[in-house]
């Protein structure tokens, strides 16, 4: 599903973020990327939705080589890939319903389809009653649920999560993890970068450890 081959990333300011990374992620897998701040986890995630390009090596999503993607094809890739962040990235002037509907409007779905999909996904993340609230009226956990709903509403094959529980208390963090686990069991590939080792240990999924831009450890589906 995701294939990273001999990838290095050096930013334009000369900072080396990744060195010769090789990683294969299969369809429907759940993979944690762990490691200290600045290790390169976020850069690795950014390469997967083409926010950044590899300086060397290649990144594939299925058979698509992201290095060869022209700028006009990038939006098409993003529609197949849901992304959630620590800082949520919700539109403050749009309601919960509108934030989720927005992801479908940009790809030209009909009003009726958007309405049905949005209400269904808000039901799934447990936010039906807050559909008319603005992000500033929600708790952190609720805001992150809206982001999950927005990321999933177009039924992407891959969900990328960059520290999604970083701003949440333990209860809310577990709420989000249960949601991600459920989505993964339904067939979506999930890649999540995190610091939260208690979550990683309890979830018992595949873990990739990144340190100073290199993969230094790799465990499969067991308590880490």
């Amino acid at each position: 599903m995701i294939s990273i081959k001999n990838v290095s990333k050096i930013y334009s300011n000369g900072a080396r973020a990744l060195s010769n990374i090789n990683l294969e992620i299969s369809k429907s897998e759940f993979v944690f990327l762990v490691g200290p701040s600045g290790a390169g986890k976020s850069t690795l995630i950014k390469l997967m939705y083409r926010e950044e390009e590899a300086t060397r090596g290649q990144v594939f999503i299925d058979t698509i080589n992201l290095s060869r993607l022209n700028p006009k094809q990038v939006p098409l890739l993003r529609r197949r890939t849901g992304v959630i962040f620590q800082d949520f990235k919700l539109l403050p002037t749009k309601t919960v319903f509108e934030n989720v509907a927005f992801a479908q409007q940009v790809i030209g779905k009909s009003k009726q389809e958007i309405k049905v999909n949005t209400l269904n996904i808000l039901e799934l993340v447990g936010l039906s009653r807050k559909k008319d609230s603005f992000p500033s009226e929600l708790s952190g956990g609720e805001q992150q649920r809206v982001c999950v709903a927005r990321a999933l509403v177009n039924k992407p094959q891959i969900l990328l999560a960059d520290e999604p529980t970083g701003n949440l208390d333990i209860d809310n963090a577990w709420g989000i993890m249960e949601l991600l686990d459920k989505i993964n069991r339904e067939g979506t590939t999930v890649v999540m970068a995190t610091h939260a080792m208690h979550i990683v240990e309890k979830m018992a999924k595949r873990v990739v450890k990144v340190e100073e831009g290199r993969i230094t450890d790799h465990k499969l589906g067991e308590a880490y």
């Binding site: 939006p75 993003r78 529609r79 927005f102 409007q105 940009v106 030209g108 927005r150």
Partner: protein, 292 residues
Amino acid sequence: MLNQVSFVIVQALVSLKRNIWLTIASILTVMTALILLGGSVFFLANTSNLATSFESQIEIAVFINDNQNREQVIDLRNQIQVMAGVDTVELTAKEDAIIEFQESMGSSSLLEDLGGINPFPDKITVKATDARLVEGIANQIAEINGVDKVRYGQGILEKLIQFTDWLRWIGIAVVAAFAFASFLLITLNIKTNVNSRENEIQIMRLVGASNGLIKWPFFIEGLLLGFIGGIISIGIVGIGYNWLLQYIITTLAFLPVVADQMFMISVFALMLIGGMIMGVLASVFAVRKFLK
């Protein structure tokens, strides 16, 4: 396609409404900028009109030698008429000149008092198409056989042209300065407006919006800001200029003013179209920065 067109339009309108303070600030900025621009164009038109009106009063008086008979005088007039740069030519025969003078003196027996000798020469009054040509035309006429003297206000003419040139340059400088100021005001304001929504643009990209779909709402917003600002500024400049015209016509009637309806409509169209173009360009350029 239709879904996306309606999405883009709704997106632009909702955004204008929900960012209402930014919208009001932008409209006020566009309005102020266009009032400066429109006002300066009217200023230029009037200074230029004033200059032309001063210049149009310059005439060349050509006095004909006494020894020229009527046919020769008419021939002279015809020669002058076809000279390059000559606008109008008017012949005042010596017989008419003395009658005019007599009337202006309130006398009916001047010619008799002078012993029947008419001291007035035949005179041709020439107007040039451009005040700058007057000196050349006058010199050319002076060379013609049969011409006695040529007078055109030597010494004063140069000063007058200097003054009218200066008047025109001030008008142009004022328009250029205000046009530049309006451009800066509008583009900087809209750029700031778009920059403050960088987060929104990033989120649009994240969920897979094409660059076109991101740009179009900003394009429409820029167009609407320019349009609304333009309409308000036209109202203000229109009412203000009409008031000023009425005031000048009733109290300073000797001042020539530009009151041509077509000219006014052209200036208003310039303000509206200029505002809309600046709004759109500023929006699109500002958004482009965020679209890699």
